[in-house]
Amino acid sequence: MYVIIAGGGKVGWNLARELIAKGNEVTLIENRRTRYLTIEQELEHAIQYGDATELWVLERAGIQRADLTIAVTGDDEDNLLICQVAKEKYLCERIIARVNNPRNRSWFELLGIAPAVSATDLILRLIEHEVPSYGLVHLLDLRDEQLEIIEVEVGPDSPAAGRAVQEMSLPDGALIISLLRDGRGFVPKANTVIEAGDEVLLVLDPGLEDAITAQFAPGRDAA
């Protein structure tokens, strides 16, 4: 696979290194002279100097034959436009953009730049995962398929504890796909009883999080 990476910061440089190690052909584009010279000592021909928002720089890097374009500069506008041009002008089928400021995520969506990856959001999800009292954890968004996969931990005072799967009055468009108990996962049957301490994985249509939270969080049952 031929991959173009715009931005030779920590993310870009390490991505380039990993992708090359996995046997891919990579061109990293970096516009800061000193940074370019540093990385060039290691990556040699796999890095080019220039501003990846300029069309001729992308063309020199061979954007026309790129299988994947990754924009990971520290500037959201740059990342957005690099991906937009790669996708719409050079018809690069796969793009990935980094979102530096999570507030800008909606603009990436508006302009059709997906997936947009935000390190801040990822760390926030890790925090949610590591701090169980936080409630519901988003594990995966399947945007094209319009589905989400979430995880909920069942606390001792959760209304779901002690109820069988079939007794749960989940909204349409929500389905329990597995239970994690004592470190093991299994697919529940209709009569499987949910216990305190279980982690429940659900697949949802978007927008059902609040209804699910009401089913699992204490004190918010049927509220």
């Binding site: 928002t53 300029e54 069309l55 001729w56 500037d75 959201d76 506008e77 740059d78 957005l80 436009l81 041009v85 719409e88 002008k89 507030r103 800008n104 603009w107 508006l110 302009l111």
Partner: protein
């Protein structure tokens, strides 16, 4: 008409003054509070007394755009000193806020041409300079 200008540099501030003098409602958004001074160059009064509006903030921020009046704007002008910021916010104005007329300054001629084809009204000072130099050169040589 209600004209919202993002970026009060030399170009943006001059366009703002001219549009205000022509009787339009003009609102200016800029990150730098000091850029307000540039709006008052050549005016006898303050920018606000002359009828203008000024908001401090970035053109990607929803709150700043709302305060600057993007919901009422008939014309959106992106004239910050960054091409990529201009192109991004003008597309936001066009697609999200559905502003009727969107004009964007792009210094890079290649991208100005491409985004023009994609339906943005682009102004490229570099391209104008190239053409004027070329025709001046043609007149001499």
């Amino acid at each position: 008409m209600f004209i919202l200008i993002v970026g009060a540099g030399r170009v943006g501030s001059s366009v703002a003054r001219t549009a205000l003098a022509a009787g339009h409602t003009v609102s200016v958004l800029d990150e730098d509070p000091l850029s307000h001074e540039r709006l008052e160059v050549g005016l006898d009064t303050t920018w606000e007394e002359a009828g203008g509006r000024f908001t401090v903030g970035h053109g990607m921020e929803v709150d700043a755009l709302t305060e600057a009046g993007i919901l009422e704007a008939d014309v959106f002008i992106a004239s910050t000193d960054g091409d990529n910021t201009n192109l991004t916010i003008s597309q936001i104005a066009q697609r999200h806020y559905e502003v009727e007329k969107v004009i964007v300054r792009v210094m890079d001629p290649a991208r100005a041409a491409w985004y023009q084809q994609q339906g943005l009204h682009t102004i490229c000072p570099t391209q104008h300079a190239i053409e004027m130099f070329t025709s001046a050169l043609g007149a001499i040589a």
